[in-house]
Assembly symmetry: C2
Homo-oligomer: 115 residues x 2
């Protein structure tokens, strides 16, 4: 993936996954598929699993093992109260950042960088 996107995902990818879990509980493999549907095509499986381990250890999700029809049992993650709180903070932080950056972008467009 591009260096730019890789760095920009830091901090946001966690929020993105929390947001996906907020829509409905899901397991790792499913989340990677969901990410592809949402347009994040280039995010590797390993990345998602590592992140799920982290958010589980932080206690942001509840986990349930569910036998799968195909392959090994699934670890289904669902957002708990702490996770929803964290997601809220993610949106707050994101909104702040997005607002500032949009503002910067407008500054450049109006003041005209390249004539």
């Amino acid at each position: 993936m591009g260096r730019q996107m890789t760095e920009m995902l830091k901090g946001t990818l966690e929020g993105i996954i929390l947001a996906i879990l907020a829509l409905q509980p899901a397991y790792g493999y499913e989340i990677t598929a969901r990410l592809r549907d949402e347009g994040f095509a280039e995010i590797a499986e390993g990345t998602v699993y590592a992140l799920l381990v982290r958010i589980e250890q932080r206690g942001l999700v509840d986990v349930e093992r569910v036998p799968s029809e195909k392959g090994p049992p699934r670890k289904v993650y669902s957002l708990n109260a702490a996770g929803r709180e964290q997601l809220d903070e993610f949106w707050r932080t994101w909104s702040f950042l997005a607002a500032r950056i949009t503002q910067l972008h407008d500054h450049i467009e109006t003041r005209g960088e390249r004539p």
Copy 2:
């Protein structure tokens, strides 16, 4: 600063500074002040200087030493062609990411996470 914001700035702070330099050339100390004006109050000076070293090493800026009336000489950075190219890519990446995340946010709001 908050962990969340710290992580989210990764990758974007560089773009933000390139954007500021696109408005007009500036030196380090001035940039930290500009950041404060733009709403990024909590960004440490050391962070800005370190970032400037990086973008200089990547050849995204031209540097000119200008004597200051107060204190040591200033290093005035101005965006060069490579820097503008990088800034363009920043905007592209940012737009992509912002669009996906906004879309995710809308999904949650319309489908209703909490009844």
